[in-house]
């Protein structure tokens, strides 16, 4: 179906721009507080804001819920984002493709830094998989190594070299004050420094990762919430073949 190019928020009438916000301000409930919340919402571009909730949530703070008609819009024509998951390959297609390479693809994955959340990287790499799909380990075309959690960047690079990895898969789950970005960027810096950046296909994943962000951080691709193993498998195979073709 045809989608509009300029999107506005939609409540129940075309073009109403209806948006909901919630936030906390350091002020106690009252008429001034309601007015402050209204103006705060207006500052965000909400017209005719309705303060539907104003409740005290500490000795000095109040919690607000506001509805209003947003004046903003987004122009889809300006969004140039690759849809990585747009037409995922299935297992047979992936295996068929990988045959062309004539060898196994070595992938090394880890959840790095102080992050100990293994479930995400396990979901992608381990046999058990995720959401009914088996992980990369289950594909004949991969030689998959899951280094687990809390792996330091230096160690990851050392192991990847030792194993002759084609691709490095990094998981970052904790995002408080952007530690995931710092940690991911540090890996790229380390690889660059050692002249190894182009040796590996570099994937970043995690609930707050998207392709755009990963590319900004110097990775080749990014995968977010709900990623299926097959999407990763397909991507890796295609790109490794690509690289092989180019270097041939």
């Amino acid at each position: 179906m045809a989608t509009k190019n300029v999107l506005r928020a939609y409540g129940d009438r075309e073009g109403d721009g209806m948006v909901q916000m919630s936030f906390t301000l350091e002020i106690l409930p009252g008429d001034r507080a309601r007015e402050a919340a209204k103006r705060f919402a207006e500052a965000h571009g909400l017209r005719e804001p309705i303060v539907s909730a104003m409740e005290q949530c500490s000795a000095q703070h109040s919690y607000f819920v506001v509805y209003g008609h947003s004046v903003h819009s987004v122009d889809l024509a300006e969004i140039h984002v690759e849809e990585l998951a747009a037409k995922p390959l299935d297992r047979d297609e992936i295996l068929a493709l990988a045959k062309q390479l004539g060898r196994k693809i070595v992938v090394v994955g880890a959840c790095t830094g102080s992050d100990a959340h293994t479930v995400g990287i396990d979901a992608i790499l381990n046999y058990k998989g995720f959401a009914g799909e088996k992980g990369l380990e289950s594909y004949k075309c991969f030689d998959a190594h899951n280094l687990g959690a809390q792996v330091e960047n230096v160690e990851l690079v050392t192991r990847a070299r030792a194993l002759g990895a084609d691709a490095i898969l990094v998981s970052q789950v904790i995002t408080q004050r952007n530690c995931h970005k710092e940690n991911a960027a540090a890996l790229v810096a380390l690889l660059r420094q050692e002249g190894l950046r182009d040796r590996f296909l570099l994937l970043l994943g995690g609930p707050r990762i998207d392709h755009q962000l990963a590319v900004e951080l110097g990775f080749d691709a990014g995968f977010g919430t709900g990623t299926k193993p097959s999407a990763v498998a397909g991507y890796v195979v295609e790109r490794v073949l690509d690289r092989a073709a180019r270097s041939a």
Binding site: G11, D12, R13, S22
Partner: protein, 516 residues
């Protein structure tokens, strides 16, 4: 099974008392007609159109007859007479009477039997139209999957019928079984049904025949797209109760909000008018196989839901009695009740369960309709969503039939697209995660739930005895329901009530009443 103890002899007595209350009113009904009933008859005979100001021809016709003091014979008699007098069609006859300016003579003219005979083909066509719509609906429905109880019922209320259609489709797409287009704020007080598609309404969208069609078309489309049937409902309520029932019947609606007393209590519509109108509307509904939803839930928006729970039950018995007298089967009686106890009251959830289960057991063949919390909702949407979840849990636990889903934005606005999506998602979760909870539990003998159920039934019985003693007219006059008092000749629309002539003619009603 989490049943509560129900003394069946008390239930039988309640039914008997309610029956006598309804019989008393039925004697009144059988002697009267209303402008609303007669306009419905005219529409059924095919009288359509409106003048340039939008006043429908059925109104012009009936008003003219009433002004001439000629309505007591029934619009049918006048139309039959015109046909006998050579009118080329019912429509022509209606236009001639309405706009012709000729005098209207009730003296002389054909007998009721002659007029009836003149209309015979038209009468059969009118009934056929209802029957055909019913058959079409049932056939279409049979080709699609239908939801499991509790059926998930959501409202749309944008004010613009085209937006409503978008929202209705989205609702089915995300799991709704039934969609209701809420009616514009003051429509129930309009003594005519607007014409055509409408795009401006406050608090809802006008109920018009064209709007019914637009939503039915959207519902049919999305039923086909998703493979699952989307049922449609609207309001047969207010001053045009019967006309809307007829429109719904021929436009294939599945359900109707239709209550014997709601208009009296909540819209200050005259009680004589309402009783006569509800009877005719229900006769149509019965024939059309439409399920009604009664409005006892509304009592608890004005009265306290703990103190006045029994008034809901008492009223359900009365609504049931009226419905039976209008030929409805139990399977068509979606008696209404609601989850409206102060959520901050300790053990309020237990009291809600008791009431819901009691109603479930007493009206065991009825597709009872369970309404969400509204009164205690606030603009804290997150909390409101949890409040609805507890309501959903009570619904699945007590096996309610039709569940109107609460919206987290209840205290703010009529639902947005997103609100409805989230509400449906939440109901799906709760209905699934606690699917067999009701089958797994037994209530502690003599516990809070059992005691409450007993108490509510006993109080309802007491109230019914009192209503039977004074009659419904006086009971309502003294505030028996919803803490609202209404006088027998007060309220809107009383002028539209007309005593039937001894030769009153209404061939449609005769057929609808056949076998009475």
């Amino acid at each position: 099974m989490a049943t509560v103890p129900v003394d069946l002899s008390v239930v039988d007595e309640c039914r008997a008392l309610a029956g006598r209350v309804a019989d008393d009113v039925q004697r009144y009904i059988d002697r009267h007609t209303t402008v609303g009933v007669e306009r419905t008859v005219a529409r059924a005979y095919g009288v359509i159109g409106a003048d340039p100001e939008g006043a429908p021809l059925p109104n012009a016709l009936v008003d003219r007859l009433q002004a001439a003091g000629a309505l007591s014979r029934g619009v049918s008699w006048h139309l039959g007479r015109a046909l006998l007098d050579g009118a080329s069609s019912v429509q022509d006859a209606a236009e001639a009477i309405a706009y012709g300016g000729g005098s209207i003579d009730v003296a002389g003219g054909p007998s009721a039997a002659q007029a009836r005979a003149a209309l015979e083909g038209h009468t059969r066509a009118a009934i056929d139209r209802i029957d055909r719509a019913r058959a079409d609906r049932e056939a279409f429905k049979a080709r699609h999957e239908v939801g499991e109880a509790p059926l998930k019922y959501v409202i749309v209320a944008t004010g613009n019928i085209y937006d409503d259609a978008v929202q209705a489709k989205a609702a089915r797409f995300t799991g709704a079984d039934i969609v209701a287009v809420i009616r514009a704020t003051a429509q129930s007080l309009l003594d005519y049904v607007p014409e055509g598609a409408t795009t401006e309404g406050y608090g809802g969208t006008y109920a018009t025949q064209e709007n019914f069609r637009i939503i039915r078309r959207a519902a049919d489309e999305v039923s086909q797209e998703t493979g699952k049937y989307l049922a449609q409902t609207n309001y047969s309520s207010g001053l045009c109760m019967a006309e809307i029932a007829w429109m719904a019947a021929v436009e294939r609606l599945d359900m109707l909000l239709n209550d014997a007393m709601y208009g009296i209590l909540f819209r200050d519509i005259n009680m004589c008018r309402t009783f006569v109108d509800q009877y005719f509307s229900r006769r149509i509904v019965a024939r059309a196989g439409i399920v009604i939803n009664t409005g006892e839930d509304n009592y608890l928006t004005t009265s306290d839901a703990v103190e006045k729970a029994h008034t809901v039950l008492a009223s359900q018995f009365i609504n049931e009695a009226f419905a039976k007298r209008a030929g409805l089967r139990e399977e068509q009686m979606g008696l209404g009740h609601a989850f409206e106890i102060d959520p901050w009251l300790e053990d309020s959830f237990l009291l809600e369960l008791a009431q819901a289960q009691l109603v479930r057991q007493i009206f065991d063949r009825h597709p009872i309709k369970w309404m969400p919390p509204t009164k205690f909702k606030t603009g804290d949407i997150l909390h409101s969503h949890v409040h609805d979840a507890m309501f959903n849990l009570a619904g699945i636990t007590t096996h309610q039939s039709i569940e109107l889903l609460g919206m987290f934005s209840e205290a703010i606005q009529t639902p947005l697209l997103m609100d409805r999506y989230l509400s449906l998602k939440s109901a799906r979760y709760v209905f699934g995660t606690a699917r067999h909870l009701g089958d797994e539990i037994q209530w502690k003998p003599g516990g809070i739930v059992e005691r409450r159920a007993r108490e509510v039934l006993a109080s309802a019985h007491e109230q019914l005895a009192e209503v039977e003693r004074v009659g419904i007219w006086d009971a309502i006059a003294t505030g028996a329901f919803a803490d609202v008092k209404r006088a027998r000749t007060g309220g809107k629309g009383f002028a539209g009530v007309v005593e039937r002539h001894a030769e009153y003619l209404n061939p449609l009603l005769e057929i609808l009443e056949a076998g009475r």
